[in-house]
Symmetry: D4
């Protein structure tokens, strides 16, 4: 059984596409909290409000780190998806974190970001553009079966 962590962009349905297409494979998927508002406000919602935005965010980011680091530590494969919007520095941070732990890294992004992601891609064992390809990789890794 493979544990796969799906890191990165949370504004498109790429995780659902992968999970659906991987039905039948012996894979367990984990992911960050993908509800943007909950993810931003979790710290103050549970541990009390902050007047300074920095600490508002700091409380939330640390709380999310409990989930994220545990999931990366337990993962056999970390998939990191970069989308078209936002800075997505947390995605690149996760990629670096996973690389340093020796996790197998799969990076997914469109051709526009190729040059900007060259260091991240260079740490990966696979670079793809589509969710379909992630599932094809998982199927091949598990069963040796090509599409």
């Amino acid at each position: 059984m493979l544990n796969v962590y799906l890191s990165g962009e949370i504004h498109t349905d790429w995780r659902d596409l992968i999970t659906a297409a991987a039905a039948g494979l012996d894979v367990t998927f984990a992911a960050p909290v993908t509800d943007h508002a909950a993810s931003d406000d979790c710290g103050v919602a549970i541990m009390g409000a902050e007047t300074d935005k920095f600490w508002h965010d700091n409380k939330g980011a640390k709380l999310n780190a409990i989930r994220t680091r545990n999931a990366i530590a337990n993962a056999d494969i970390v998939v990191v998806r970069f989308g078209d919007k936002y800075k997505q520095w947390n995605a690149a941070f996760d990629a670096g974190y996973a690389a340093a732990l020796g996790k197998s890294l799969i990076v997914m992004h469109g051709p526009d970001h190729q040059h900007a992601l060259k260091e991240v891609d260079a740490a990966a064992l696979a670079v793809v553009q589509e969710p379909r390809q992630v599932v094809e990789i998982l199927r091949y890794v598990i069963s040796g079966q090509l599409p």
Copy 2:
């Protein structure tokens, strides 16, 4: 003696400012190759041209990784600076890589990027805005002397 790796943005003189202000402190600084053209083309310049931009960049990024990973592994403190231009995913990747190795992380950026960098900041032991503050931290860590 402290080994400090200065990761991130290569288009302003922040490394020079830190190095100059830290004169007299028992610190050794390391940095990536900051000549943008050399950094981009090093792979093909030494190992032969590629027709595909992806492999051109891949060769260079891996070659730079020899320097980068060695420097992070040897560092006691990793400073990561985020500037105003470009995606800077390699900076965030370095931050994640350093965090997973348990290195002391100092992040430097302006207030504009506060929200986008909240996960990176949450992994840091210090978040600053100016090169001067990095040197003040190094001086305090070494000697206990405040500015």
Copy 3:
């Protein structure tokens, strides 16, 4: 499934409150032996009496360490609670031990101890005051659901 170790103060019912409120969550809780007398005397009860109180305590503390270190090593999250009585140095020791192993640390204490616990809090991913908040964190980490 999350493994959570509940370290620290053994004179109030905070562990019971957490365990009861976490019913239904996919969490396994571990804890030190909370019977104060048994915990103090376990060493001599099994391995023979000592005339010197230091060795009486030493035998017991080492025996308890078999349980404690195993539980921390297996934990994904370590919660450390500081109460109003006693020195509670073993709680702070557990926090340091867990931090060095890279475990996610949640610290619980009242506002009176804020300054004295600043180093422990600084190593934590969450600092709370109430058992209810620990359960809210666990629920969020597992399901993304806020209270």
Copy 4:
């Protein structure tokens, strides 16, 4: 050459006594910042004021952690001294941190604290009461010479 980190109580001159008595031994000592005011305020002095005492302390504790963790990581031996005043949870935290990293731990405290420190003492390779004894241990470890 032995690297020795002197952790704990900062209100008596025990570090000076050890350093003076160890003159001539091939030992390098490190210590936390022992200027209480500087240690408390370093974070805000360098990185800006906070209105909330928790974050004032948090900034300072993290900044001190850069020094502390680096010193423990580089130490062959960690000496932790517990005195008569304050909670000293940071000392116990350092002891746990050092123990988890497999450092040789020497604990120093008076007989009053024997029972309360039993878990910390149980993780130590030596438990002493006087600075003189620490130096006798260092001399023996280096040269085999007894007092």
Copy 5:
């Protein structure tokens, strides 16, 4: 239960012989993809064609590494078989990789390769010639029963 990774030569039926003879033992076997064509072309089949043979192979080898490294990391015992054909440098690479991770290494080869494999054999806990012997070792390791 033992996890055993069967690395090396993919042109004879040695894995089938071992698996069949080990029926009834509490062993789980893993192996690389043994379909030579699929193994060679998996990278381009999923991630797109390459004009340069080097990158064609590079894509495939990295994709196979996801499976291989995961399997070695999970293995209690790594068996590496050297056959009569081809360079089999990947088999020796796997042996070195497993040795550095502290895995128990069993090497299988005929007497012709004895001298050339002396460094690999020197890292092994057992050197055998026949699949039958691997199963005898597994049975002995699990049950203490000799053939």
Copy 6:
């Protein structure tokens, strides 16, 4: 559930006494091959005879190491028993091996060997004389219940 490895002396029934008395506890026991003849001859029986006694023994000892090292690596607690006969250097070797891996060590021996085993005892979390005491420790570690 605790994994307990029972290392050392194989000429008395101490393992049976422990296993029987621990019935009902959530413990899984592992042990070396305790059939003396099989343990001595396993290497040559499976991998072919040797004329030199050194290599006869070397083959067997390495084969047994596959079982032993795997069991120690998987153990939460390693019990090492020293009896009255033979040199039992392999028992002391296992104790050192387990100590270096940070395993909880319980040493069992009679009072005659106290001085000779002082370094081994000093690495242990418990030193006992009787199998009954090992089971009492396991019961206490699991349930907090004293005899």
Copy 7:
């Protein structure tokens, strides 16, 4: 200063070419014993003759492993050269060993071996054909200077 281990083929003067061309760079080179006869016979020359070729080689290979593993452990960069003759399984073993330890790997070989070395190349940060290129890489990694 970079520590570089030059592993692999010992029948051409590639190490001399690299060492000479790297004069002036802050690099320390290490290498295996390159006297073929000494390397083959060192075990029996020091520890006594063996009648069986397997043990003759085993003694020597283990003795050489003292040098080799120490050098790889100390290296920042491991260069592995594959030549035209012999099986060179020890070179591929070293490459796997270095890769598992996270060392930066540079592989050198001619185009003939490209397909057979694809798994080794896939673990490398640079793949080159000539000693000159290794030195160009070292110069770039140290100084950022391109040829």
Copy 8:
């Protein structure tokens, strides 16, 4: 430069023979305290008398462990010598400890102990009988020069 720890038997002059014969080699030797009386009584001499022999020995053994573990951790090579007298369980413990840390192990003993030391020998990279052979190994490892 090689760091070599000389563990084991302290009643003959084998360490002196090795050190003298290794004059001129780039080796630093470390050793336990070889003054038997000092080694036995160091704990109580510095930390106070004990009425119970077990704790007398326990204090001393832990104090010696500060020296021993530090030396093994710093060693590239650990030589363990077994002599004719005493149980020497601490020597076997050191061998196991060093093996688990992946140190290169050289074992020295006479033919009488061959069978009893087979598990220790099986973990070694070299097994010798004479101090002269240890020096020959060190010379070969450093310079490639055979006797």
